[in-house]
Assembly symmetry: C2
DNA sequence: AATTGACCGAATTGTTATTTTGGTCATTAT
DNA sequence: ATAATGACCAAAATAACAATTCGGTCAATT
């Protein structure tokens, strides 16, 4: 009786255990037995909520996409200039380490063993982010705040810049601080390189 | 006697056959027997000129780096603005498809089977390009043509932009034309996104 | 009705046999 | 004599097969 567990939402238990496991071991090395154990739940129970491992993973990835979008939506001030909003969202994003841990682990897994599911998951996030940014680039472009440009392509290159400054900069430097990333992003994308 | 071969430079024959083979089959799937056959030369002959497969490959990669640098050096006009030189070199580079074929094949090989030698080769080219660009970014920065910035990091992000617009743009669009790549590169890096 | 874990077959991993390939060198051609 | 060659060898890659793991099910239990 002492170790009796409250009828806590089992679905949530599973989801959180799975998130921790994917983040720690990656997609492939996460086993359903492991998730069940971590969630303190029988393996069969997982399958009352999720049809299969892939669905469990997809649920977590859409959660990540949703949280990213909500963070951005919460931060955006439509009355402010595009540039200010961009920097502010970036700023918030750089504080938001949790999501990164899973994304980083999956990226590593794709590099090391090329797990297709991990690759697809990351591609989905990438597409969602590009779509989101491109909508706002498009609006800014229509308002005349920025030049006419292909919104999708511009969003795509922006994301690549972000990744180059965060995930990939260790090819050259030690990882940049948050302030440095913000500074360079502003220089490259808002002010331009040309001397004032 | 009819099929007698001129004392044509055997080293060159081997080098060219190897280049074709690496470009067509990648590093791993290129065999020394294959290269010998393509070069119309006994296998032993290859080893009079190159200590091993790796050296043969490295020779070809340094050739690629050297040709890229010579192309750029030939094009650069120190008296012209940084921006003009950048666009002009880019222009020439986009015409220079041959080098690309090998680089593209190697990139595919790294993605598909992760051949370490292919990865190292590409990284060497990347480092060489970043070093080259960063030297010129540094000069432009000292001349006050562009803002002060970390030259290496700036060169790195420029290269990533170039790759995003050429090699990776097919994630979104059909490959961009040479003119489109030039246009977007100018917009992003020289003029800036801000409405004029 | 909700939960469980022993159970199943497919897929993965470990192991051994077979083939391929980088590199050598005695022989041949010049 | 020197330059060139290709049969040859050990090591590495691959194929074939055995052993294990893991996603998913379901009869038994709570």
């Amino acid at each position: 009786m002492a170790a009796e567990r409250k009828p806590m939402d089992r679905r949530k238990q599973v989801l959180e255990a799975a998130a921790r496991s994917f983040e720690t071991f990656g997609y492939k090395a996460t086993t359903m037995d492991q998730v069940a154990k971590l969630a303190g739940v029988g393996k069969g129970t997982i399958y009352t909520f999720f049809a299969h491992k892939e669905q469990l993973f997809e649920e977590i990835m859409s959660g990540m996409i949703r949280e990213l979008r909500e963070l951005a939506d919460r931060t955006l001030r439509p009355e402010l200039p595009f540039a200010d909003n961009l920097m502010e969202v970036l700023h918030k994003l750089l504080d938001y380490r949790e999501q990164h841990a899973l994304a980083v682990k999956l990226a590593q897994e794709v590099r090391d063993i090329g797990t297709p599911m991990a690759r697809e998951g990351l591609e989905k996030v990438e597409r969602a982010v590009v779509t989101y940014i491109s909508r706002h680039v498009n609006e800014a472009s229509e308002k005349g705040e920025i030049k006419p440009c292909d919104p999708e392509l511009t969003a795509f290159v922006m994301l690549k810049t972000y990744l180059a400054l965060t995930a990939e900069s260790h090819h050259l430097h030690m990882p940049l601080t948050k302030e440095e990333v913000l500074d360079y992003f502003r220089t490259y994308w808002m002010e331009g390189l040309a001397a004032r």
